[in-house]
């Protein structure tokens, strides 16, 4: 496959064997010299051991999904070989640890045994097995060894002996595969002419919150959201800042509501089980009109579910977490880059409408390391809530719409109330106030209907509309279908509730909106149908993202199933 402009390498083995860092290392090295790269990781919920795999996709051009078939599999044990070999494309290469036995009947793949550990020991640094792998890969993907050596020199700059050992490991790996033919010729990288960051989704969410001016973070550890807590504990410091680990998600949510009431920009991050525990609190923030941001990094559910797998099955609960009449604003980033901007916007929305905002990330984005265009902070707007500056006789809830926010310590004392209340904030059971306040709370959502969205080929009667982290896979699937001559529109926004009003109007005019999503029920399609859109879902619930090729086939199948295969083809 010489000349292919991209390559997918998968590393599979046992947790603790360096599998997790291998893909990131390859992606770091590749992006460092100007390629585009993106990783995917899935690992068991235990500290050490257990079957683990990660994958890096490296390309000359920008990419947005973990990719389809695997070009090279690095199997650190026999189980990994048996489990993953079928995902390797015909003609692909499998690098095997000596503990794995290649199947003689496997003629579709080139199986090469590499004594990773033995070679690493030769360097005097037993942990350099990963570098042996990288050395071998540099031969197979035709990427100059110097790229990796430079990466090592920078990464371990202060530790000369480590650099020497790792450089030796790279040489040994390359020498071991010197006689092998390359799998791919990536060609010279086309280095982007703009500044870049190499960053994971959780980190991008954290940085977005920082840019938005977060002052208070209170959270409880849970996979895969913990890295946000860890980032905040370390970085949200100094005068007037709070980052604290709570004793439970119930404590987290109610404490950030206290912080929001006290006038601070505040956030917590969790995943499905924690999100469920927060739901009464989220209703309280809606009712009392307190700006807060709740991040739900989705994993497989329900209950404890699949803590380390990806799924998009919290959409409905994110829009409707609380009992009673309420509907939460939800922002669902679709890329690592959008994790940053989505996080900023979640705070902006919370400030703008004075209420809780859900930021719906997912495991595959949270753990995805990727090169992105470095955010130009000076040009990312940050919003602040309207503050009350009057005297002490303030009726916080008098208006039929948004009213200025007063905070303890300053004038304008009132009672923030989770019970239905009158204009003073006093508890009431009178129907006239329940009508007034219910309408007031919903009216504020109108302030959020101006989100950006993508629309292409909007004349097509049938459109594809992904949401969240499936964006990249769906875009690549759509491109395959467009290249095949199908006439399909593209709609996408991270502002999933409320949808941008203009976008919703366009969707309502379509004959069909196809929504590929990672859940059983087709939750976005259900939501769209409730908004008067003729939507149909294509679902997957394997714990893994869509493969673009596979998805393109399923979209085609759906179209032919409803007799649209010809109608949707361009004349």
């Amino acid at each position: 496959m010489a000349g292919r402009s991209e390559i997918v390498v998968r590393f599979a083995g046992e947790g603790g064997q360096g599998v997790v860092t291998a893909a990131e290392m390859l992606a770091r090295a590749a992006t460092g010299v100007g390629y585009h790269a993106l990783t995917f990781a899935t690992f068991p919920s235990q500290i050490l051991g257990g079957p683990t795999w990660t994958q890096a996709r490296v390309s000359r051009v920008p990419i947005s999904s973990p990719g389809d078939s695997v070009d090279i599999l690095v199997a650190f044990n026999d189980y990994a070989y048996q489990e993953h070999r079928s995902d390797v494309r015909d003609g692909g290469v499998i690098l095997l640890d000596p503990s794995a036995t290649p199947d003689p009947a496997d003629t579709a793949h080139r199986c090469i045994t590499v004594p990773f550990d033995a070679l690493a020991k030769e360097t005097g640094e037993a942990r350099a097995a990963n570098m042996v792998v990288m050395g071998g890969l540099s031969k197979l993907i035709n990427m100059p060894l110097q790229f990796f050596k430079d990466f090592v020199s920078i990464r371990f700059a202060a530790r000369e002996s480590v650099v020497t050992a790792n450089h030796k490991a790279l040489d040994l790996g390359l020498n071991h595969l010197a006689a092998e033919e390359s799998v791919s010729d990536l060609g010279s990288p086309i280095k982007p002419d703009y500044p870049q960051s190499f960053i994971k989704g959780n980190e991008a969410v954290s940085l977005g919150a920082m840019h938005a001016g977060i002052e208070s973070y209170i959270g409880y550890p849970i996979s895969p959201a913990t890295p946000i807590l860890v980032y905040m504990e370390k970085n949200l410091t100094g005068e007037g800042k709070v980052a604290v680990q709570a004793s439970s998600e119930i404590e987290s949510i109610t404490a950030i509501i206290g912080a929001g009431f006290a006038g601070k920009k505040t956030m917590t991050a969790t995943s499905g089980p924690g999100f469920t525990l927060m739901q009464e609190g989220i209703g309280l923030a809606w009712m009392a009109e307190i700006p807060i941001v709740v991040v739900d990094v989705q994993r497989g559910g329900p209950a404890t579910g699949l803590p380390t797998k990806t799924e998009q099955s919290d959409l409905l609960t994110a829009i409707y977490p609380a009992h009673g009449d309420s509907r939460m604003p939800v922002i669902a980033p679709g890329t690592v880059e959008e994790c940053f901007y989505g996080s900023v916007m979640a705070f902006n929305w919370a400030e703008r409408y004075q209420g809780p905002v859900m930021l719906l990330s997912e495991h595959s984005l949270a753990e995805r390391a990727q090169n992105i265009r470095k955010p130009d902070l000076a040009n990312v707007p940050v919003e602040e809530r309207v503050r009350y500056t009057g005297n002490n006789d303030y009726l916080r809830y008098e208006s039929h719409e948004l009213s200025p926010f007063s905070s303890p310590g300053g004038p304008g004392a009132y009672i923030a109330n989770g019970s239905e209340h009158d204009v003073y904030g006093d508890t009431t059971h009178l129907g006239k106030y329940h009508i007034h306040m219910t309408e007031r709370r919903f009216s504020k959502l109108k302030l959020l209907e101006d989100g950006d969205y993508e629309a292409e080929n909007s004349n097509a009667k049938i459109a594809v509309m992904p949401w969240g982290g499936s964006k990249g896979s769906v875009r690549e699937a759509l491109d395959l279908l467009l290249a095949a001559g199908l006439d399909l529109g593209w709609y996408y926004t991270m502002f999933v509730s409320p949808l941008p009003a203009k976008m919703l109007a366009e969707l309502q005019s379509k004959d069909l909106v196809i929504v590929p999503e990672l859940n059983f029920q087709g939750q976005m399609a259900l939501n769209l149908r409730s908004l008067g859109v003729k939507a149909e879902a294509i679902t997957q619930y394997t714990g893994l993202p869509f493969g673009p090729g596979d998805l393109a086939g399923r979209i085609k199948q759906l179209l032919s199933g409803i007799g649209q295969s010809t109608g949707a083809v361009k004349a």
């Binding site: 500044p195 840019h211 410091t237 709570a246 404590e251 303890p408 989770g418 009431t428």
Partner: protein, 288 residues
């Protein structure tokens, strides 16, 4: 806010102990404002759900900020407020059901933190607002609407619980003496750490214990409320335990440990020693 709000129609039953607790709260906050020279708006009263929670709506005179949240969560809401603005005086009001049943999980972490907030607990030994079910402090064998054959569970001993969890200021009081109670609350507010003022506040409708608290010579009932002797050393943990083991309703400061630094104080040190990096610098860590 009830004075200005004729439509507000929540009423405590005549004789409810919560009237006295409310008055004590007003006294304590006014006194604190004089001492600290801060306005009433620097006080926040965070209420749980139950009869006690309505204190926040029934406070008279100048109004503090109020937060009337959800059942059992007054402590974590107060924690979020206090951590955001350590200058505020943050007080929670909750009942025995709210604080010791559904909200029990929040006491231990606050005791561990020793955050400078004050919890005023109105213990009437019953769920009053939902019309008379057994609460954690309802005594064994008592017949209520939810224990028609007598309460099987043992009651919790709140003071013993607080002491065990490491609460650094524990006072016990009685709603019929608002001035005395106000002093216990004021001292709790001023205590640099987590304080609890546990108040026997009878429910005249479902669990009227006034006669037991005050005692009756006529009915030959000895009073359960008793004043902690002036010579009690509140910093002595063993002495505090002895007071609690006396039983009944001791009135006064049971325990006060001023040796443990508060969360607030430790946090201020950490904040001062760890300045936040600029957003540009944080982003630069990820530069390619």
């Amino acid at each position: 806010m009830s004075e200005k709000n004729p439509e507000y129609d929540f009423l405590w039953c005549p004789g409810c102990g919560d009237f006295g607790v409310r008055r004590a709260m007003e006294f304590a906050m006014e006194e604190l404002n004089i001492k600290t020279e801060r306005p009433m708006t620097s006080n926040v009263v965070v209420a749980g759900i139950g009869c006690s929670g309505n204190t926040v709506h029934l406070l008279e005179g100048e109004q503090p900020y109020g937060f009337h949240g959800i059942h059992g969560r007054s402590l974590p809401v107060a924690m979020g407020i206090k951590m955001s603005n350590p200058e505020l005086n943050v007080v929670t009001v909750a009942g025995d059901g709210d604080f010791l049943s559904i909200g029990m999980e929040h006491i231990a972490p606050q005791a561990a933190r020793n955050l400078n907030i004050c919890a005023v607990i109105m213990d009437n030994g019953v769920y009053g607002l939902t019309k008379g079910q057994a609460s954690p402090t309802t005594t064994h064998d008592t017949v209520t609407s939810s224990t028609p054959f007598g309460k099987i569970e043992n009651p919790v001993n709140p003071l013993e619980l607080y002491l065990t969890l490491g609460v650094t200021y524990i006072a016990s009081g009685y709603s019929s003496k608002p001035k005395d109670l106000a002093n216990l609350i004021l001292r709790g507010m001023e205590h640099p750490g987590f304080s609890i003022v546990h108040v026997a506040s009878p429910c005249t409708t479902y669990n009227d214990t006034y006669t037991q608290l005050k005692g009756s010579a006529k009915l030959n009932i000895a009073p359960t409320a008793w004043t902690i002797p002036a010579n009690h050393d509140a910093s002595d943990r063993k002495a505090a335990r002895a007071i609690i083991e006396e039983g009944g309703v001791p009135v006064g400061v049971v325990y006060e440990d001023n040796s443990r630094p508060s969360f607030d104080a430790q946090f201020e040190t950490i904040r001062a020693n760890n300045k936040q990096k600029s957003n540009d610098a944080q982003l630069a860590v990820f530069d390619l």
